[in-house]
Amino acid sequence: MGNHAMQSRTKPHGRLRNLSDTNLLTSITVIVFIVMYLFAMIVLQKGFLKPQTLFNILNANAALIILSCGMSLVMITGGIDISVGGVTALVSMSCAVLLDYHGGSVPGAMLLAICIGLAFGLVQGYLIAYLEIQPFIVTLAGMFFARGMTTIVNTAPFNVQHEGFVRLKDARIIVPFLGSYNKRGDYIDAYVEIGVVVALLIVALLFFVLKWTKTGRNFYAVGGNRQSALMLGINVKRTVFLSHLICGILAGIGGFVYFMHVGSGSASHASGAEMNAIASSIIGGTMLTGGVGNIIGTLFGVMSLALIQNIVSSIGLDQAWWTGITIAAMLCLFLVIQSIIIARRKKANLSAAADSKG
């Protein structure tokens, strides 16, 4: 980030300060994730020694990774999108109905998924960027609309029987050399689902765009300070619009990946996914104030959330409430760390500024 160079010039001492906000928060997340995983491997052993456990976490959370990527992008630009969970449910239900009741094909379903996401992105982006309505309210209505539409499309949840889709759903990508032996000594391949590959591709693509393209840097500039971005000649409205558009499309893709994982349509699918996506982005170092964030961090945010759920249930605290409470505790911890870091940084920056003046 732009801050990076300035900070290292004004404050030569202190290694932590050489990291930008983004990198500092992200590295905390990555370290926490690795420490937690090591803890699980050493203390709990059981499944955690098998690579497949990690792949299973990825398989179950591929959709959430995609949704969180879109969320991070919007949050970096200084907005929020809470409609992603609703869009996911709508996509899964619409695709299910298309495949089983209207004789649709798999590519057709994919197209439908992306179109639904695109439509939400377009409308929400327009209302937020050009009519200047608060993103929270617009996407709140978007969520309501998507959830309601899901029930209107079809009330009862059902499993999809479409042949081509089932084949796609059950497709496994074998990861070489990482399989394990079961009790009888047979070798079992380690595998990931197609959704994981899609998710990782999107992470890589977004990481590249945010880091090295002009459009990507514009997102940070607009999120950091709208006024100065405007003065720099950045088209603020278009950037905000674009962030919501991309988030909408990603919600459509994420919805389809979710649909591929569960293989059914239901109005209660992905309930609370928007909150999980926000939580993952925050844990991954994205700040809701905008201007700070990192897609790799988001990936680790999702993984940390999923890992802690796994650990909690394998410790034996399998009553439903423990998951909620631990996630909340983790979120609380990360938020407090964030706010303390930011406050200390501000103070340090102020004193540095005073030093250089005096």
């Binding site: 309210i137 309501f144 609309f145 009330t155 439903a320 409430w321 909620g324 996630i327």
Partner: protein, 365 residues
């Protein structure tokens, strides 16, 4: 619709009216009422009957609205203060409501899940629930005020954990209160045909109104919401005021939770007050209050809450499924928000100005 009708009447009065905050909820209310009047005038019929206990009760759609809109109105009061002071919304009210309801039932039922008589007086249970709820409010408030976390994110913590905590308090059991007197607060007092929640909402409104009228709280909340730094320079303590608004919202949550559990005499942790946080925020927005904080109008929010309940009831009447309800609500909300957006308003008023000189020119010819 209302804006388009503007040039027909005297312009200065109308443009003043249009700028008034109450216009949005009132217009929404009128549109809804008109729609119902045209579609089916029997919507407004109120009948006097007797319930199973032999008490006189009024029934009909308007009564349903003032009955079920009350919890929402009470929450909207607290939400307006929080919105005004911190420029953000509390999304944990539904979860916090589950907690306070759970605490109340825990105290009323003791260790038994379905005792024949109350284990503690209702007032004691209510007061303890209030205290617990205010503590959770203070937790949210301190995250917002002292740690400077955005309200929506700070309250996301309780939103995630709240229902789990509520289930944990009662060991995931569903206590049932068998005492009839407990149902009075969410139903009807013997001899009074108007539902009790409406009275509770009115009392809450009057108390808050008095609090704002006779203390400086309202002024302080607004000044903190408009500019925190200036407020500090003027000797206010913004952190304390933000914290206070969250604690007050906690109190509102406890009252609303009391009504909710009294209605059912039991609790369902995952369903109770589901999505009520969204409705409460919409009530504030519908009241024309800026969701980014600053100036606020309490009456507009309360009216907004009843308008939302009006809409819900209307949709129910037209046999819309409860799950599909949200799609229609969303369309209405978007329409209202678009119409009240400053950008759209400016464009519309510019359009009106363009039209008016043309008319005058015609008249002079």
């Amino acid at each position: 619709m209302t804006i388009k009708a503007a040039p027909a009447k005297s312009s200065s009065f109308l443009s003043g009216l249009l700028r008034h905050q109450m216009i949005i909820p009132i217009a929404a209310l009128l549109i809804l009422a008109l729609f119902n009047l045209i579609a089916d005038p029997s919507f407004f019929r109120i009948t006097l009957g007797y319930n199973s206990a032999g008490n006189p009760v009024l029934s009909g759609y308007p009564i349903t609205i003032i009955d079920y809109g009350s919890e929402l109105a009470i929450l909207a009061i607290g939400m307006t203060l929080v919105t005004a002071a911190s420029g953000g919304q509390d999304i944990s009210v539904g979860a916090a409501l589950a907690i306070s309801g759970s605490v109340m039932l825990r105290i009323l039922c003791g260790t038994n899940t379905s005792p024949a008589e109350l284990q503690a007086p209702v007032i004691v249970a209510f007061l303890i629930a209030c205290v617990v709820s205010m503590i959770f409010g203070a937790f949210n408030g301190s995250l917002v005020a002292f740690f400077r976390i955005q309200p929506m994110v700070a309250t996301l913590i309780l939103f995630t954990a709240g229902r789990s905590i509520a289930a944990w308090i009662n060991n995931n059991e569903l206590p049932i209160v068998n005492d009839v007197s407990f149902t009075y607060y969410g139903g009807y007092l013997p001899g009074i045909p108007v539902p009790t929640p409406f009275f509770i909402a009115i009392i809450c409104f009057i108390v808050t109104w008095a609090l704002l009228k006779f203390t400086n709280l309202g002024l302080y909340v607004q000044s903190v919401g408009i500019n925190e730094k200036t407020s500090r320079l003027n000797g206010l303590n913004p952190e304390l005021i933000k914290l206070l608004t969250y604690v007050l919202l906690g109190l509102c949550v406890a009252v609303a939770g009391f009504i909710k559990v009294s209605r059912l005499s039991t609790i369902n942790y995952s369903v109770i007050a589901k999505d009520i946080e969204m409705d409460a925020i919409l009530a504030v927005a519908l009241g024309g209050n800026a969701l980014s904080g600053g100036k606020f109008n309490m009456s507009a929010s309360v009216l907004g809450a009843y308008v939302i309940q009006f809409l819900t009831t209307t949709l129910y009447k037209f046999n819309v499924q409860s799950d599909a309800l949200s799609a229609y609500k969303a369309v209405v909300v978007i329409l209202l928000v678009v119409l009240s957006a400053p950008v759209v308003r400016e464009k519309l008023s510019a359009l009106l100005k363009k039209l008016r000189p043309a008319k005058q020119a015609q008249q002079s010819v």
